[in-house]
């Protein structure tokens, strides 16, 4: 901790204690939160790229506003509120236009988006090059809006950002229920009488506001990243809406903070781009390690499930081996099972498993206390293990009987089909199966296997 402390204290003029850095940090983090929240809903509405349209289409409005003000009174072109309003108007117009263009015959949704996006940007570029030829062009400021000017944030801008972020937060909380239903079941919402079109409009307005505000930190070109990446990253952590919104906001904030801090340390890299890159990094982390759908987690769950299946299969193999050797009438009960020794070789030969898996699962069963090694070098069930084995076999055979008698599967396929499904049967389903077969009079706890099990080989026929 002292190391961290001295690190912080050593920051000096470019560090965390620096006022301007704190300003920028506050601004970008607030924006990250707002964008994360809105982005979560966009993701669920499957309209993530609306942000792309909004940000590219804000450019002509930005340039036009500059031109208007500049022509009106030279030198006033850089009045920020005017530029923001211009950008917002053209962004909103473009989104509306996309909806209209979608309705034209033969123009599909993706083409409509691409056309509006590229053409409005083209118009913006034309206007930008026109501005370049102005003596007071100072167009450098305008490209700053494209690429971000986070480093130039001042207190007034942070104030604006605070208002925007708070506004987004308040509106989202106020309309959370409405947005939730809108995202998941639009038809239901409409049928319930909720003003779906107005809610959609509200969401779009939020997107435009966030995008235009993002001009100041990450810049227009990268604003869409703030709207998409945190939300998609959050998707790997949770399946619930409040969680998604919160985590998305959190990742947005984290990415903004990281990008800003690193940018303060290493000059000339561009704060906005760094924020997006950190967003990407957090996304990759979420993609792999997210607790709901992360790749690593999914692999781990799959592996665990497979192991459970293998353990059950091993237990059953041992049971069937012992069942064949059993010389007492009826199927062996737990105590009888626990008395009978068996060798690993006999069991191994009845399973077609690779050696490593066999050893590993055998070891696991030992650890769980279901089997134990006796003095003669033979394995034996413990009582607990025997009961477990009986349960496993019961499931398997009831399910096999069901498949044979009710699902009309050919006998040759039964074992394999049963292998896959039986491990997923719940207790309720088991009860129903037993009810089915109680009527047939088979009262034994474990039904007979309809496979012929050879007493000597221990292998099902």
């Amino acid at each position: 901790m002292t190391g961290l402390g001295s690190f912080v204290l050593a920051q000096g003029s470019a560090g965390l204690l620096d006022y301007s850095t704190r300003m920028v940090l506050a601004g970008t983090v607030l924006l990250g939160i707002a964008a994360g929240i809105v982005g979560a809903f966009l993701l669920l509405r499957k309209r993530s790229l609306v942000g792309d349209v909004a940000s590219h289409a804000a450019v002509p409005g930005l340039a036009a506003a500059f031109l208007l003000f500049e022509i009106n009174s030279p030198g006033s072109g850089r009045w920020l509120p005017g530029l923001l309003i211009g950008a917002a108007v053209s962004a909103a117009l473009a989104i509306w236009l996309t909806e209209r263009v979608k309705r034209i015959r033969y123009i599909k949704e993706d083409a409509a988006l691409a056309v509006v996006l590229s053409l409005s940007f083209g118009l913006g570029v034309c206007l930008l090059t026109i501005i370049q030829s102005f003596p007071s062009g100072n167009q450098a400021h305008l490209t700053d809006f494209l690429f971000g000017r986070a480093a130039a944030l001042i207190e007034g801008d942070v104030l604006t950002l605070t208002c925007v972020a708070s506004g987004v937060l308040i509106i989202t909380l106020a309309f959370f229920k409405e947005f939730a239903v809108l995202s998941f079941d639009e038809d239901f919402a409409a049928a319930q009488g909720w003003p779906v079109a107005k809610l959609e409009l509200l969401l779009t307005a939020l997107v435009v506001v966030v995008t235009v505000t993002a001009m100041q930190s990450v810049g227009l070109l990268l604003a869409v990243a703030l709207l998409i990446t945190p939300a998609v990253a959050a998707r790997f952590w949770t399946d619930r809406l409040p969680g998604l919104v919160a985590i998305s906001a959190g990742i947005g904030a984290l990415a903004s903070a990281s990008g800003t801090i690193v940018s303060a340390q290493i000059p000339r890299l561009g704060t906005g781009a760094l924020i997006v890159v950190f967003g990407l990094i957090f996304f990759i982390v979420s993609w792999f390690f997210g607790s709901k759908r992360g790749l690593v987690w999914a692999w781990w769950e799959r592996r665990r499930g497979n192991r459970e299946i293998h353990e059950a299969d091993l237990l059953r193999a041992v049971y069937e081996l012992l069942e064949a050797k059993n010389d007492v009438e009826g199927r062996p009960g737990p105590e009888r099972l626990a008395d009978l020794p068996w060798s690993r070789a006999a069991v191994a030969s009845s399973l077609t498993w690779p050696a490593r898996r066999f050893e590993s699962i055998l070891a696991t069963l030992l650890t769980r206390g279901w089997i134990w090694l006796d003095a003669d070098g033979h394995y034996r069930f413990t009582l607990h293990g025997a009961r477990r084995a009986i349960d496993v076999v019961r499931r398997h055979r009831l399910w096999e009987l069901y498949l044979l008698n009710y699902a009309a599967l050919p006998a040759g396929q039964i074992d394999r089909a049963a292998d896959i499904t039986e491990h997923g049967l719940t207790d309720a389903e088991m009860e129903r199966l037993e009810g089915l077969f109680a009527a047939r009079g088979d009262q034994s706890q474990v039904p007979a296997s309809f496979h012929k099990i050879d007493a000597r080989e221990g292998e099902p026929a």
Partner: protein
């Protein structure tokens, strides 16, 4: 204007080189662009434009690193060509990677495809921007080049020994490459675009086609990067294709027409970029306006799209509005005829006052509108005014008879077969009467066994023998 055109056609002039490069770049983009649009993957073009930026920068850096391009160096002249080649290979790889990653993210996270794509391409674009800024001094790319290329200056880099710009050569190479692929795999492309399931069933490797298209698009984007930039390339890819789609319905025509529009956009864009400074002089110190060529090209492209949307042969919005207006007018005039007929049935004399009063009220239109409509009918010979009284002519009577006959037959039909009340069936008959041909009318009459009166007891006018 004349000087512009002559300058354009002069093979040695800068203008013609710019125009040539622009045309070749636009055509090169339109080829894969058409396929993207037809396969509803326009956003892939958007993604590739952004995602390839880091690859492009790295290509620049790699070439600079490997080759000494100081002015005296022997290899200096070949740097642009080598650079392009290196970048093309990198582009194909990067493009495929981008698409593959997006698909993996989409499947593993169960998010929508465009969101998955968005994550990948925005991240890559950000990396590209950082590289551009960091190595701005080492590479010939700056921020504005990223946005819209620098066609005006890139033509100075020529292929060694000729005056042909390297950018033009690379665009030409892209055209040849794309055209070759298109011709070689025409059947497969066509089938997998329009009927993917059938294509798969027939054994066409849809996945390979997909990857091939992504790679080809990526290479085209890189080949034309300096001409149109990273972001405007989307306009070059998509807009001519969309415009063509509105006009033709066949695959091959679609491709050809999109190439035509691409060429027109390039030429028009360049002319616009050249003409604007001459047309407009702004600001107090008389500095001319400048419009970048790439932006102008996309602008012209957009205008052509707009024109097609508005004035396209069958689907043009303007024609649709015009047809709707014509329909409204026909319905209105037929309503007037109907009213005159019914008033005549009751023996009412229709003078100007009646027109403005009773007729206007029952039609729920202004007196002025009724006056206009009646005048139109008069010039069409359907009504006449004799001593201040308006009457149907013989032709007008025939037409009015048909309409009223249709109306009353429909009312009878609805009342008999569906048991509808007078009010409901009247409202429906009011609409149907305008769209009932003689064939339908007489079949209706047959179906009803030629009734003499409608449910309200009014006489159904007889068949006049015309449709």
């Amino acid at each position: 204007m004349n000087e512009l055109l002559t300058s354009l056609l002069d093979a040695n002039s800068l203008d013609s080189r710019i125009a040539l490069t622009a045309i070749l770049a636009s055509i090169a983009c339109a080829l894969p662009g058409t396929l993207l649009v037809l396969r509803r993957q326009s956003l892939l073009g958007d993604a590739l434009g952004h995602a390839l930026l880091p690859g492009i920068v790295l290509g620049y850096l790699a070439t600079n690193f490997l080759i000494d391009d100081s002015p005296g160096g022997a290899a200096a002249a070949w740097v642009p060509s080598l650079r392009i080649t290196a970048m093309l290979v990198g582009a194909a790889v990067a493009g495929i990677l981008c698409a593959v990653l997006a698909t993996i993210i989409e499947k593993s996270g169960r998010v929508e495809p465009s969101a998955a794509l968005g994550v990948v391409f925005t991240g890559l674009f950000a990396i590209g921007l950082i590289l551009v800024r960091r190595y701005a001094d080492d590479v010939d790319i700056d921020a504005s080049c990223v946005l819209y290329g620098h066609l005006e200056t890139v033509v100075f880099e020529t292929w060694p020994g000729t005056t042909l710009p390297v950018a033009a050569v690379s665009a030409l190479a892209a055209i040849v490459f794309n055209a070759a692929l298109l011709i070689a795999f025409y059947k497969e492309l066509k089938l997998s675009t329009f009927d993917p399931e059938f294509a798969r069933a027939v054994g066409i490797p849809a996945g390979a086609i997909e990857i091939g298209l992504v790679a080809a698009t990526a290479m085209t984007v890189v080949a034309t990067f300096e001409s149109v930039g990273s972001i405007l390339v989307l306009a070059a890819l998509v807009v001519p294709a969309v415009t063509a789609r509105l006009l033709v319905n066949r695959f091959i025509s679609q491709i050809m027409i999109s190439l035509v529009f691409a060429t027109l956009a390039a030429v028009g864009g360049h002319l616009l970029a050249m003409a604007v400074p001459h047309l407009v002089v702004l600001t107090s110190d008389n500095r001319p306006l400048e419009v970048g060529t790439a932006g102008a090209i996309s602008l012209v492209s957009g205008l052509m799209l707009l024109a097609t949307v508005a004035f396209g042969p069958t689907n043009g919005l303007v024609w649709k509005v015009w047809r709707l207006r014509a329909l409204r007018q026909r319905v209105f005039r037929e309503d007037v005829l109907g009213i005159l007929f019914r008033l005549a049935e009751r023996g009412v004399q229709v003078d100007e006052a009646c027109l403005s009063g009773q007729v206007a009220r029952s039609l729920d239109r202004s007196p002025a509108a009724v006056q206009r409509g009646v005048r139109k009918l008069q010039s069409a010979g359907l009504v006449e005014q004799i001593m201040g009284i308006w009457r149907l002519t013989a032709v007008g009577t025939q037409r009015a008879t048909e309409i009223v006959r249709s109306h009353r037959l429909w009312e009878t039909y609805l009342a008999r077969n569906l048991g509808w009340t007078d009010e409901a069936s009247h409202r429906v008959a009011e609409r149907f009467e305008h769209h009932t041909s003689g064939y339908v009318r007489e079949n209706l009459a047959d179906e009803l066994s030629h009734p003499g009166h409608d449910p309200q007891g009014r006489e159904i006018p007889p068949n006049t023998g015309t449709s």
